[in-house]
Every structure is written in structure tokens, then in C-alpha cells.
């Protein structure tokens, strides 16, 4: 033990430096237009971003899936890139990858999203392929069959993943039985099995058309005649005009309770604690984002300060709000959640501490210092968060999908900066009231059930 004899430090110390003068930065403002076929286009030039991101949103929500065919939107989205009337599935994938592109298509509650990333030098060709997929998908019987069986094979993998399993259970608990949101986004074994090429084609015919879609194009567009590129690609897409779809209201039961999904022998318990809250159209969003950051945004937030940095129960617990669907008419909803995993023996103590953190927050509120750090972080990281074309395109497409104005994110930063401690406290406390949280625990029931019951955070049921 030589540490007292040895000098621990022999360097010159200097006081903590002061910040320089901030260079202004603003969330990029896209240029909005409409093509002759009714397709809405948002474009945004980002100098230096050689990989262009294209996000296409189609208003084809999951609740539009026919009864008994949950998952048809997912299969359709996947089938878009599995061959067109001009080329087969393998050739399509090969041509796209030859552009150095990646293409992802998936379906979620608000609709179908197709995401392309490609070096700008090959944008024209790759966008041509994406247009071909949207305009003339083959939906070949055999390819759809393959996608269905592939999807069926995925389901057991998802059930075996603690985080996925918890999410599925929470949806089931939270949302009214019979509503689309209560059921898995990509369908169940039973519903997926029922999907065939005709069902995929019918869903496509009913919902996929340019007038119901928006394309967001972001990247270094120097020297690119985007109008011409669009005219030659997505501009050739035709379809009937689309009427906006009214969105059904979201109803949820957040009465406090605990559901344990039994996983005998699990060395950790996956926690997912949630309820339903407002969407981004609600004036409270900025304050809620601030408050939620203070509660569980990072490892120095309240939850991790105790659960991780003091007790070592977890690698990290986060709180967040995730918009599920939004129509701008007051029907939208988000999932407010706290998630993470804790070691099995400490599950009871960890939940006890978690509830104590929430109660203390409600009783004493946030401090001004916490609020200041949260604002500085949430606003300050914007230029780094939006360095890539893909991140800008993703947020612009989210705004479209949630019926928000194109300058929403830019204005959110201004609102965050104006939000005070009292407002942030009120928002986070009403977002996470201790008696109105549905707690899903994926873990070893034999070990965690009793300690969790003893906490008195709501009735406990065990499912397998």
C-alpha cells in the first residue's frame, strides 16, 4: 500500500475553463412542396452530408388492418422490397445494394415508413428503385408466403427477449381489449398465419398512394437537380386522391398494478413501468421532456443516481415519452415509461427505491440546478444530435407522421429554454403518479413475487 508515500498527482492544475461564445445553430427548416401526383415533399440541404437520407411516410395505420389480419401492414411493408413487376426479389435487393444503399420498411401505429440511405452520387438510381417498389410491387404469392413464415419464425425470438416481452405485455395491460394498440404491432402467430398475397395486395390498394404519402429528402444536395430526380422517380407514382383518416381515440387503463411475466431462472428482472400521456401537440410536452430528463434521462438523473450510482442494482434505468400516434385534433397519445433491468435478488429493493424517488420528486420538486442542466443538455446537444442527414430526416418525418408543423422541433428548443422549474416539476409529477402506473416485470416469479407484493404498489398477478 504505497499510495500515501507516492505522490498521487504531479501535474499542473488549472481552474475549470469557462465556455466560449456559442455559435448559433438552428434546427434546419425544410422546404415543403407537392408533386403533381399529390405526393408531399420536404427537402433539406445539409452541406457535407454525403449520405442522403430519404424517409417516406404513408398514411396506412395499423388500425386500418382488417380484423384478424394483424401484421398485414408489416408484411406489406417488407414485401415492397421483395420484387416488382420489373424484377424479382433477389435482383431488387442486389440492385439496391449495388448503389451502396440501405432500405428499411416497417409499419407502426401511425403508418408505414420507408427509409433509404444512399451516397448522393447514387441517389437517382436508388430512389428510382424505391419508386418502383412503391409503384409496382409484385407481391408474388411465393414471396409473401416466405415473408409470412419468416415472420412466424421471428415471434419466438421476440418472446424470448426480456425487453420485447415486457413491451408486448404492457400494451396488452394498458390498452382496452379489442383495440389495435393492445395487440402486437407485427401480429400474433394466429393473425400472421392468415396473411396471404391477396390480403397484402388489398391493403396496398386501399392505402398506398402518393396523395397519402410524404417524402423527406435530406443531405448534401449540391449539384443535384432534385426536382428532376423526383419527377423521374416518385413523380411517376399515381393513385386516387386520399381523404384524411380520422383517428380513433386512445383509451387506457393505468390503475396501479403489477404483472409478473414468469421467466424461471432469470438472473435479472426486466422492468417496464408505464402509462399513457399526452402527445406533442399538448403544451405540456416541453415541460414534461425536461422533467423526464431530470427523472431518468441519463446516469446522473434521479433514478440512476440512486439505482445505479449509489446502489449498483442496474446498468441503467431510463424514463421517456414515446408518441404512439397523433392527429393534431387532441386524440393523440404517448407511452410514458420507465424501463431498465435490475438483478433478481435486488428486484424488491430496487422497486422500493424507484417508488421513493418518485414520491420524493412529488413531495419536494426539482431543483433549479437540475432544471438548468436539463435545459442546457436538451437544447445544447441539438447540433450534435442532428449532425447526420438521417437524424434530420427522421425527425422531419416524425413531425409529418404526428401532424406537427415543419418548424415544431425548432420551436421546441425555444420552449424548452423558457420552461421553468415549477412547470417541469408539475409535468413530470403528473406524468408519473405513483398510484397510476402499470408495472410489468419479466423475471423469476418464484424469487420476486413476494418482495414485490410486500411493496404495496398495486395488486400483483403472474402470467407465463
Amino acid at each position: 500500500m504505497t499510495d500515501t508515500a507516492e505522490p498521487l498527482t504531479s501535474m499542473d492544475f488549472h481552474p475549470q475553463p469557462k465556455a466560449g461564445t456559442a455559435r448559433p445553430w438552428a434546427f434546419p427548416a425544410p422546404e415543403r412542396g407537392t408533386l403533381g401526383n399529390g405526393l408531399t415533399v420536404l427537402r433539406c440541404h445539409r452541406p457535407g452530408q454525403q449520405v442522403v437520407a430519404v424517409e417516406i411516410f404513408v398514411d396506412a395505420p395499423l388500425e386500418a388492418e382488417p380484423a384478424g389480419l394483424d401484421g398485414v401492414a408489416t408484411i406489406m411493408a417488407r414485401a415492397l422490397s421483395e420484387g416488382t413487376t420489373e424484377r424479382g426479389a433477389e435482383e431488387f435487393a442486389a440492385e439496391l445494394e449495388r448503389c451502396g444503399a440501405t432500405l428499411d420498411a416497417h409499419a407502426d401505429h401511425p403508418g408505414v415508413r420507408v427509409s433509404l440511405e444512399v451516397p448522393v452520387s447514387r441517389l437517382r438510381k436508388a430512389l428510382g428503385l424505391v419508386a418502383e417498389a412503391l409503384i409496382s410491387p409484385a407481391f408474388a404469392e411465393d414471396e409473401v408466403k416466405r415473408l409470412v413464415s419468416n415472420r412466424l419464425d421471428e415471434i419466438p425470438h421476440e418472446s424470448a427477449n426480456p425487453a420485447r416481452r415486457a413491451a408486448k405485455q404492457l400494451s396488452k395491460e394498458l390498452f382496452a381489449e379489442g383495440t389495435r394498440m393492445s395487440r402486437p404491432r407485427q401480429g400474433t402467430e394466429e393473425t400472421v398465419e392468415a396473411i396471404d398475397a391477396a390480403a397484402v395486395r388489398a391493403f396496398y390498394d386501399a392505402h398506398v398512394r402518393p396523395a397519402a404519402a410524404t417524402a423527406v429528402v435530406v443531405g448534401d444536395l449540391t449539384g443535384v437537380d432534385l426536382d428532376e430526380v423526383l419527377a423521374e422517380t416518385l413523380g411517376a407514382w399515381t393513385g386516387a386522391p386520399a381523404a384524411p383518416r380520422p383517428m380513433p381515440p386512445v383509451t387506457a387503463d393505468d390503475s396501479g398494478r403489477v404483472v409478473i411475466v414468469d421467466r424461471p431462472g432469470a438472473v435479472q428482472t426486466q422492468l417496464l413501468i408505464g402509462r399513457v400521456g399526452p402527445d406533442r401537440h399538448d403544451a405540456v410536452w416541453a415541460a414534461q421532456a425536461l422533467g423526464s430528463y431530470c427523472l431518468g434521462g441519463t446516469l446522473t438523473s434521479r433514478l440512476d443516481r440512486v439505482l445505479r450510482e449509489e446502489k449498483g442494482y442496474t446498468y441503467g434505468v431510463r424514463s421517456y415519452a414515446q408518441v404512439l400516434r397523433s392527429d393534431g385534433a387532441g386524440h393523440g397519445a404517448s407511452l410514458l415509461a420507465i424501463s431498465g433491468s435490475v438483478d433478481t435478488p435486488n428486484t424488491g429493493p430496487a422497486l422500493d427505491d424507484l417508488w421513493k424517488v418518485l414520491r420524493t420528486l412529488a413531495a419536494e420538486g426539482l431543483t433549479d440546478a437540475e432544471r438548468d442542466v436539463a435545459v442546457q443538455n436538451l437544447v445544447g446537444v441539438a447540433p450534435l444530435r442532428y449532425e447526420t442527414a438521417a437524424s434530420v430526416a427522421g425527425t422531419l418525418a416524425d413531425q409529418v407522421e404526428q401532424h406537427l408543423p415543419d418548424d415544431y422541433q425548432a420551436r421546441l428548443y425555444a420552449r424548452l429554454a423558457e420552461t421553468g422549474t415549477v412547470e417541469a416539476t408539475a409535468a413530470v409529477v403528473s406524468a408519473f403518479p405513483v398510484d397510476r402506473l402499470v408495472t410489468v416485470l419479466v423475471g423469476d416469479a418464484a424469487q420476486i413475487e413476494e418482495p414485490v407484493r410486500a411493496l404495496g404498489i398495486g395488486p400483483v398477478t403472474v402470467v407465463s
Partner: protein
């Protein structure tokens, strides 16, 4: 005193340049200017990773990385995180076999803070390191291990393949996360010694990339890091050299609670930094990268025997790289059917090589990956450090994509023929333990060469 030279823009680097400097205490510094966005990335690579760990102390390099965030002489508790995040920055650290990196991405006007923070812990961590942080972070890391490896299906596959592919006693035989027993055994004195041995300016490379004034930045680096004493007591890591091929298939069959059978394999491949490594990267991309690869087409599209099938490449500089095959089977398909198809595809590829179109595709994919990597200041800072630490020349980062594009189809074929062979792999087979019923003892005939199926 800083000395440096200015590099000219290399072809294919998108006009990016980097300058190199060295402080009197041995700290190497790489700077790269880019004023498009008002952000600057700071990246610090220490030339120490899990390969430097000794028997009985696996996981120490990574556990130590956690301790670097627990305060130093002038930074209290979680101050490092609080100050960076409060300045609108983001930060983290990671540990691999070959290095430990720490990084902050800051709004330009907060760059000096990140340099001050990194220097404080490089020079004075031991002033703050105590039992309390050691005990706490030990628990955190054990929970990290549970969350990422032990509590997810197939979670320990990488660790098992590594243990098979690199023999007992080899510095890469164990992975950076370490074992629970060794994490439990690590002491505060181990951590202190680790710091004293490896955390010295002459064992690190600092890169600063983005909206910077190079002269001002260099002056800050000199101011904050310049007085940290050099230290030369670092032992060389154990030699990672191995014969080019394993020389016989190694195999482990696991019966575990997993959702489906799986065939995984680790192939011994050329070291990073060689032309052969770029060639094998292209081979693995043609064979198992993306949705148009040969294995995806064969197993997922045509045979329909797999849910997913692909190859990954772990580039390593101090030991053979590792090519990782991962196939999850569909429905009731048995592993031998998959394995036969994989072997057939690999043999055909070794004989015929890639088609011109496949080469074009693979090169286009790797080119986009490089554009992505170099498209952010943080990615560029990390790559500059990587090439400086592992290959002694940061400029190589800016030309890496050119080297990949220069490889020929015949070189790709040769690399595949030499390495992607059954006698050059460690195989890991998963059989579900669930009461699903019908077939259980199917692994009887497989035999296991080395590790044996532990549980």
C-alpha cells in the same frame, strides 16, 4: 512542446485532412478541422484493452473504464458526466480487446471543458478513486454483464466463440466483459496499479475533430495535458500471433433455453491493417452482408431453412481477426442441413470467387459504411485514433476506403479459399432445451474438440 506537420487532402477522403503533433510527455495529438457544424469531438484512445489483462483479472480494463467516470482531483463524483451533459455535450467510453476509448462531442464553445476533464483524469484519477466507487461500479458492471450477455438468449455466444477460437492462455481468449468471478476478485489496488501502468500520456492518442481553431486547440492541449508526466512501465501484451489457420474444426454444442436452433462459427482471419483483411471483409460482405448476400439468398430466400443468416467481421490488429457466422434456423430445421448448405456456398465461393457485380455491390456497401463513419466528427475522431494507436499513422483513416476499393476479385477469392474453410473455424451449435419434445440428443455425433460443452 508541440511539433507537427500538415497533411494534404488525400484522394477519396472527401477533402478531409488531419495534422499530427506530439507533446514532450509523449502524448500524440491528431487534429482535423471541419466547420460545417458548430461541434467538436474529443477522442482519447489509451493503448490498453482486455488483451493486457492477466489471468484471474479478466474484465479489469472495462471495470477500470467505469472508474474513470467516478471523479478525479478537480472533478467530484459524477462531475465528468454532469459537466459534459450540462454543457450540451455527449460522452461515453468503451473497452475492447485492444484499446480503451473515451469521447466527448461538444458544442464548439465548450471544447476546452472536455480537454480539461480528460486531462484531469489522465493526470489525477488516483486522487479520487476509492473503495466506494470500486464497490459500486463492480455491481454496475456485473449488472451490465447480466443485461447484455447472461439474461438474453444466445447472449454468451460471442464469449464462447472467442474462447474456442483463441486458445487457452492467448490474450484474446477472453472478452472485455470478463467473468463474474474475476470481477468479484478485482481489488482497489488492482485498479490503482492498472492506472499507474497504462494511463500515461505516452500510451495514448488524443484526437480533436470539428469546428476547431487548430492553434488554439493545440495550446489548450499543451496547457492541460503538457505537465502530466510520462510513464514507461508498461509491459508488452502477450503475443497474439497464431498460425494462419486453426488446422482442425473446433466445436461446442450447447443445450440451452433458446427460441430456435442456431449455427454460429468463428473463422480465423487476417489481421486488420493488411490487404488480405480488406479482401476477406469483401468476401464476408458478398457471402453474408445485407439482403442480397449468398447466404441470405440461399438459406433465407431459397432453402427457407433460416430466419436470419449473415457474417460479421471483427477486425483485430494484435491477433487474427474473427469472422462471425450467425444463422438462426427456421421452424424444425436441423443444424446439419444448414451446415451443409453453408459449406457448399463457401466452397463454391472459394473456387469461383465473386462475380463482378457482387464485387461492385460489396465495395459500394463498404464505401457507404466508411462515409457514415467519417460523416460525423465523433466517428472521424475515433477512426483517427484507431489508425494512430493500432497502425502508427492516423492518415490511414482517410484513405481506408480507397484501399477497400483497390482490392481485386481474385484477391477476394484467394482470401476466402485460404481462410473460410471448415478446418479454420470454431463452431457453436445451439439446441433448444425447452420441453418442445421430439429431438434432443442430436448432438451425440458431433463431438467437441476443445472446450467441451460446459452445461
Amino acid at each position: 512542446m508541440p511539433m507537427g506537420h500538415t497533411a494534404t487532402a488525400e484522394a477519396g477522403s472527401g477533402g478531409l485532412t488531419a495534422t499530427e503533433h506530439r507533446l514532450a510527455n509523449g502524448l500524440r495529438v491528431v487534429l482535423s478541422e471541419d466547420h460545417l457544424t458548430p461541434v467538436a469531438a474529443v477522442c482519447l484512445w489509451y493503448d490498453v484493452g482486455s488483451r493486457h489483462e492477466v489471468e484471474g483479472r479478466t474484465g479489469l480494463a472495462h471495470l477500470f473504464e467505469h472508474l474513470m467516470f467516478q471523479g478525479s482531483k478537480q472533478v467530484h463524483g459524477n462531475g465528468h458526466f454532469e459537466l459534459v451533459q450540462g454543457a450540451g455535450g455527449s460522452l461515453n467510453g468503451t473497452t475492447s480487446f485492444e484499446r480503451t476509448n473515451y469521447f466527448e462531442t461538444m458544442p464548439t464553445h465548450q471544447l476546452e471543458l472536455a480537454l480539461w476533464l480528460e486531462a484531469d483524469r489522465m493526470g489525477s484519477l488516483l486522487a479520487a478513486l476509492d473503495d466506494e466507487s470500486m464497490e459500486n461500479q463492480r455491481d454496475v458492471v456485473k449488472n451490465e454483464r447480466r443485461q447484455r450477455y447472461d439474461n438474453v438468449p444466445y447472449g454468451t455466444a460471442f464469449e464462447r466463440l472467442t474462447a474456442l477460437a483463441y486458445p487457452e492462455g492467448h490474450p484474446y481468449h477472453h472478452t472485455p466483459i470478463g467473468s463474474m468471478a474475476d470481477l468479484d476478485a478485482a481489488t482497489l489496488e488492482d485498479a490503482r496499479n492498472f492506472f499507474r501502468t497504462y494511463y500515461a500520456p505516452n500510451n495514448a492518442v488524443l484526437s480533436v475533430v470539428g469546428d476547431i481553431d487548430p492553434e488554439e486547440t493545440l495550446a489548450w492541449v499543451e496547457k492541460y495535458f503538457g505537465s502530466i508526466p510520462a510513464h514507461d512501465g508498461k509491459p508488452a501484451p502477450r503475443d497474439g500471433a497464431l498460425p494462419d489457420v486453426i488446422g482442425g474444426e473446433l466445436r461446442e454444442v450447447l443445450v440451452e433455453e433458446v427460441p430456435a436452433r442456431a449455427l454460429m462459427a468463428a473463422y480465423r482471419l487476417p489481421e486488420d491493417g493488411t490487404r488480405a483483411c480488406d479482401a476477406i471483409d469483401l468476401a464476408l460482405t458478398v457471402l453474408g452482408g445485407g439482403e442480397s448476400s449468398r447466404l441470405h439468398n440461399r438459406l433465407v430466400r431459397r432453402d427457407r431453412t433460416a430466419v436470419t443468416a449473415g457474417f460479421g467481421l471483427l477486425r483485430l490488429a494484435g491477433a487474427p481477426s474473427l469472422g462471425w457466422l450467425d444463422v438462426k434456423t427456421s421452424g424444425g430445421v436441423e443444424v446439419p442441413a444448414i451446415e451443409a448448405a453453408v459449406d457448399e456456398e463457401l466452397a463454391r465461393f472459394a473456387a469461383e470467387g465473386p462475380t463482378a457485380e457482387e464485387m461492385e455491390r460489396a465495395q459500394a456497401q463498404l464505401e457507404r459504411e466508411w462515409l457514415d463513419r467519417l460523416g460525423t466528427v465523433a466517428g472521424r475522431a475515433d477512426e483517427l485514433c484507431r489508425y494512430a494507436v493500432l497502425f502508427g499513422d492516423p492518415q490511414l483513416a482517410l484513405t481506408a476506403v480507397d484501399r477497400v476499393l483497390d482490392v481485386t476479385a481474385e484477391e477476394v477469392r484467394e482470401a476466402a479459399a485460404a481462410r473460410l474453410r471448415p478446418d479454420n473455424r470454431a463452431v457453436l451449435v445451439y439446441e433448444p432445451a425447452a420441453p418442445a419434445g421430439s429431438e434432443d440428443g442430436a448432438d451425440g455425433a458431433e463431438g467437441d474438440d476443445e472446450e467441451g460443452a460446459d452445461q
